[in-house]
């Protein structure tokens, strides 16, 4: 599966989750999303790609590993910061489980979860959860 196919497969997974919709902004500029649309907005980028340790004979197959960044926003209500922060992290686990789910319909992708980072918007209105995954795929 090529790079755009990998990205589309992951977008399709998250887009299928209740309430999630893709932001028009890439991961790197995700904080420009409008506040009114930001809750459960997400973006997916393939931030880098590396070669695998293999022969790289093009007539057969070439393997590569790509780092995928997935970011989504979760709204924090002013009087429920602790509760909503927990809810955001519960949602994060759902996203991880969804992204690690079956790709039987779009074969050619192996994916592993790497890490999460959580930051708050300056307004304290949203927590931004950035997940990174490693995918192994063909070009």
């Amino acid at each position: 599966m090529n790079l755009s196919g990998v990205r589309n497969a992951i977008i399709a997974k998250v887009d299928g989750m209740t309430g999630f919709r893709m932001s028009p902004f890439p991961v790197e500029l995700f904080d420009r999303s409008q506040n009114t649309l930001a809750h459960l907005a997400f973006a997916v980028s393939i931030s880098s790609t590396q070669s695998m340790n293999e022969r790289q004979r093009v007539p057969t197959r070439v393997f590569m590993a790509s780092n995928v960044s997935l970011i989504f926003a979760y709204r924090i209500r002013p009087h429920s910061v602790s509760t909503d922060y927990n809810l955001a992290m519960d949602q994060e686990v759902d996203v991880i489980e969804t992204v690690l789910g079956s790709y039987a319909a779009t074969p050619g992708i192996e994916i592993r979860y790497d890490q999460s980072t959580r930051t708050f918007a300056q307004s304290l209105e949203y927590v931004l959860i950035n997940l990174t995954f490693t995918t192994i795929h063909t070009p």
Partner: protein
């Protein structure tokens, strides 16, 4: 033409497995490119005069070579589709009707064995010909290791000799 001035690298290599007379073959794909083999010579019998080596006589014949290569594990076995290295080296699945290369000639080998052909691309690099090493009558043992990706290491012992072919 002059002797090649192009050092070969992983991308130039192809490994092909063959059964008897090459009626069934499998060109390896999804591999790490770590094919290696060590041809061996007869055992050395060292004869000493007191403490000094006075003669080294040729001793027992040894296996022709030992070696290994690694493929990425995609399937263990498949009866319907060709492509399983494990099936080819074990005479199972789609390759259950393979014929051992060791069943005729000398040495005759009771265990199922195959020929392994390694080719380094030459003509695409401006050489007169491709460069080939054929290891005959290889008994293969496989080590599975889980990882990202999981691998099958094919370790082989060759008893039928190593033949090199290059530009003439």
């Amino acid at each position: 033409m002059a002797y090649s001035v192009v050092p070969k690298m992983r991308r130039d290599g192809t490994i092909k497995l063959l059964d008897n007379a090459g009626s069934n073959t499998l060109t390896i794909s999804f591999e790490s490119g770590d094919f290696n083999f060590t041809p061996s010579k007869d055992a050395e019998v060292i004869i000493r005069d007191r403490n000094a080596i006075s003669n080294v006589r040729r001793g027992d014949q040894e296996a022709s070579a030992t070696g290994s290569f690694t493929v990425f594990m995609r399937e263990f076995t498949d009866s319907a589709q060709a492509g399983s290295v494990l099936d080819f080296v074990n005479k199972t699945g789609q390759y259950a009707s393979n014929v051992s290369t060791g069943s005729t000639g000398t040495p005759r080998i009771e265990e199922y064995c195959i020929d392994i052909e390694y080719t380094a691309e030459g003509t695409d690099n401006g050489d007169d010909a491709d460069h080939k090493a054929t290891l005959s009558k290889c008994i293969c043992n496989v080590v599975f290791t889980e990882g990202d990706p999981s691998t099958l290491a094919i370790n082989f012992t060759c008893y039928g000799g190593v033949v090199y072919v290059g530009p003439t």
